[in-house]
């Protein structure tokens, strides 16, 4: 009966599914019985209960009267916020160090090598503690470093000028901005729009820019906090700094660790990309009279980027997970919010499930988008000579 390959393949798959189904069902039953025996309620009803505790840093308005559901959203937003900042900074660091490492200048080369050998080889959690210790030992607010009366750096955080609008409207503003930039790049570079007439292209661009502006301005106007100035400039009043946006040291420490540690890894990946670009392409660009800057930005960088994008995706997903170090130094990221919620509500299984699904969704989004980009920009044709 199992003599054909096809029959065997089916049998193996059915057997595998049966085992998975058995494990799922039996563990659910066991969990239910155990929870019942201990008198605990399972289910997601607790998400509507108010927490009774506050969070250290939130992008949207939050008070102890708000629900568990909302505190999880706060944690998610903080993680996304930190993830984006950390990954962007890590790229800047990585690219710079990669350029140093591939340069023919001995001094730059040595700096690059030294950087990588130091920061790649110290665990990121130690670096997070290290930067946190430094940032919390900066001067107190009344002696804060004053950057031109508009920004302050102190042990209590970095104070930046901002707008007097609600957190949610600022969030909508930034989402509109990010999506706008994304669609603009897509519209100007995707192959499917290449054949549009110049006037259609111009109209398309204007539509995108206009739409983003309308949404962004509308978000700011609607979220305006009444009876305040539009601009919120941090100022020193007594012993503390008032107004402005406070970036807490926990957040800065994590962003710096991600940039420094992640940057060291990214630098080596980007360097590999540069080395993979054929010498011929760079020579051809030079022979055409392109300046070193254009040879770099128009030929070497785009080709290197294509070579390393799958590896970069991997690294971004990895770096994004490093945001969970928030729990080590007290930043209210997704993980630490879930962890506190578990302690306070006892809904361990549900919260762990939310945590895992949350990270799966976020990281799959990153890899889905970057895989699509990879597919769109990969070198076409089979006659490549590089």
């Amino acid at each position: 009966m199992l003599k054909t390959r096809k029959a065997r393949a089916w049998a193996i798959q059915i057997g595998f599914l049966a085992i998975v189904a058995f494990l799922l069902i039996s563990s659910t039953l066991v969990a239910r019985d155990t929870l019942h025996a201990q008198g605990m309620n399972s289910g997601f009803g607790f998400l509507d209960r108010s927490t009774g505790w506050d969070v250290g840093f939130s992008l949207i308005e939050f008070s102890p009267f708000d629900t568990y559901g909302k505190v999880i959203v706060v944690g998610l937003l903080n993680t996304i916020f930190l993830g984006i900042i950390g990954i962007v900074l890590a790229n800047v660091v990585g690219l710079t160090i990669a350029v140093f490492r591939t340069s023919e200048n001995g001094a730059l080369n040595a700096i690059g090598t030294l950087y990588i050998e130091i920061f790649r080889n110290v665990p990121i959690i130690l670096q997070a503690f290290f930067w946190y210790a430094i940032l919390t030992h900066l001067p107190r607010p009344k002696d804060a470093y004053n950057l031109g009366e508009v920004a302050f750096v102190s042990a209590r955080g970095v104070y930046l000028p901002g707008l007097n609008v609600t957190g949610s409207s600022a969030l909508i503003f930034f989402i509109a901005l990010v999506l706008g930039i994304f669609f603009y790049i897509w519209f100007t570079s995707a192959r499917r729009f290449r054949s549009l007439t110049p006037s259609a292209k111009k109209n398309g661009k204007l539509t995108i820019v206009g739409l983003v502006l309308v949404i962004a301005v509308a978000a700011l106007v609607m979220g305006r906090i009444p009876e305040t100035n539009l601009f919120s400039i941090p100022t020193l009043k007594g012993l503390n700094i008032r107004e402005g946006i406070r970036i807490p040291p926990e957040m800065s420490a994590l962003a710096v660790s991600m940039a420094v540690y992640g940057g060291a890894y990214l630098a080596e990946i980007i360097r590999a990309g540069f080395l993979s670009v054929g010498k011929g392409q760079a020579e051809a660009a030079e022979a055409l009279g392109l300046s070193p800057w254009y040879v770099f930005t128009r030929v070497r960088l785009p080709l290197a980027f294509r070579a390393i994008l799958p590896t970069l995706t991997n690294q971004y997903v990895w770096l994004f997970k490093a945001t969970t170090l928030g729990i080590a130094i007290g930043f209210t990221d997704f993980f630490s919010v879930i962890s506190v919620s578990i302690n306070q509500s006892g809904q361990t299984l549900e919260l762990i499930a939310i945590l895992m699904v949350g990270f799966l969704v976020m990281n799959n989004t990153i890899s889905f988008v970057l895989n699509r980009v990879n597919k769109a920009i990969k070198l076409k044709g089979t006659q490549l000579r590089t």
Partner: protein, 246 residues
């Protein structure tokens, strides 16, 4: 037509201790078509790569279109814009379409508008007989087509001089003729050309002068008739026997 395009006097090049080019002297007038041949490792490619400073020479003087090639960055840029180069392996930019390959440098280093650059590009793509491939990517073309794009790309900079570094060596035999045809047409239009090639038919047909190099030296130099029919040097004779006998 007796303006000097390239003047090389007493040029020497070393790779470490290896003496790659020895006392090279060469004068190329505008409109000259020069074919350089010689066994591999004789320094032919290195010599023409010195003309646009892809290689640096250690001694002697190279003047291109009246500008001396030295460490001055400005000079190198000026010369590279006026000296086009076609490579053995084409070296097209694989991430850009054929059209974008052709318009990249005119737009960035000559500051030509996009519309004008594309017009020029299409004109030269027509000249190398592949305008219909403009929107394709280099990897989607055959070797011969890629090399013709490379020639069009070089022409889009409106160069005074074109350098060819073994342009047909990496091609399948049936594609060599389509590239040579384009090169012959360029020669007939009066382009100043320096070609490193083993295509002796091409040399006979279009060259004003053939230069034979061996071991980093120019061994013999002369019009094609003399060069092929009555070579003066023993080394030239041996070389010609080897490449013409098969």
């Amino acid at each position: 037509m007796s303006e000097v395009a390239i003047q090389i006097r007493g040029m020497n090049k070393f790779y470490g201790t290896f003496h790659a080019l020895k006392e090279i002297n060469l004068t190329v007038q505008k409109g000259d078509r020069i074919v350089i041949c010689g066994p591999s490792g004789s320094g032919k490619s290195t010599m023409i790569r010195c003309v646009n400073r892809l290689e640096e020479h250690q001694a002697g003087v190279i003047e291109v279109l009246g500008t001396e090639l030295n460490d001055e960055v400005g000079n190198i840029d000026v010369i590279r814009r006026d000296v086009g180069m076609v490579f053995q392996h084409f070296n097209l930019f694989p991430h850009l379409t054929v059209l974008d390959n052709c318009t990249l440098s005119p737009m960035l280093s000559r500051k030509v508008s996009q519309a004008e650059a594309e017009k020029t590009a299409m004109m030269y793509l027509e000249r190398v007989k592949i305008p219909e491939q403009a929107e394709k990517f280099p990897g989607e073309l055959s070797g011969g087509q890629q090399q013709r794009v490379a020639i069009a790309r070089a022409l889009c900079m409106k160069p005074e001089i074109l350098l060819f570094d073994e342009p047909t060596s990496a091609l399948d035999p049936e594609m060599i003729s389509e590239v040579l045809e384009v090169m012959v047409e360029l020669a007939q239009d009066g382009m100043t050309m320096l070609c490193v090639t083993h295509e002796m038919g091409f040399a006979r047909q279009v060259a004003d002068r053939v230069i034979f190099m061996d071991k980093g030296e120019i061994v013999e130099e002369g019009p094609p008739e003399d060069f092929f029919n009555s070579p003066k040097e023993e080394r030239t004779r041996t070389f010609l026997q080897q490449i013409l006998s098969h």
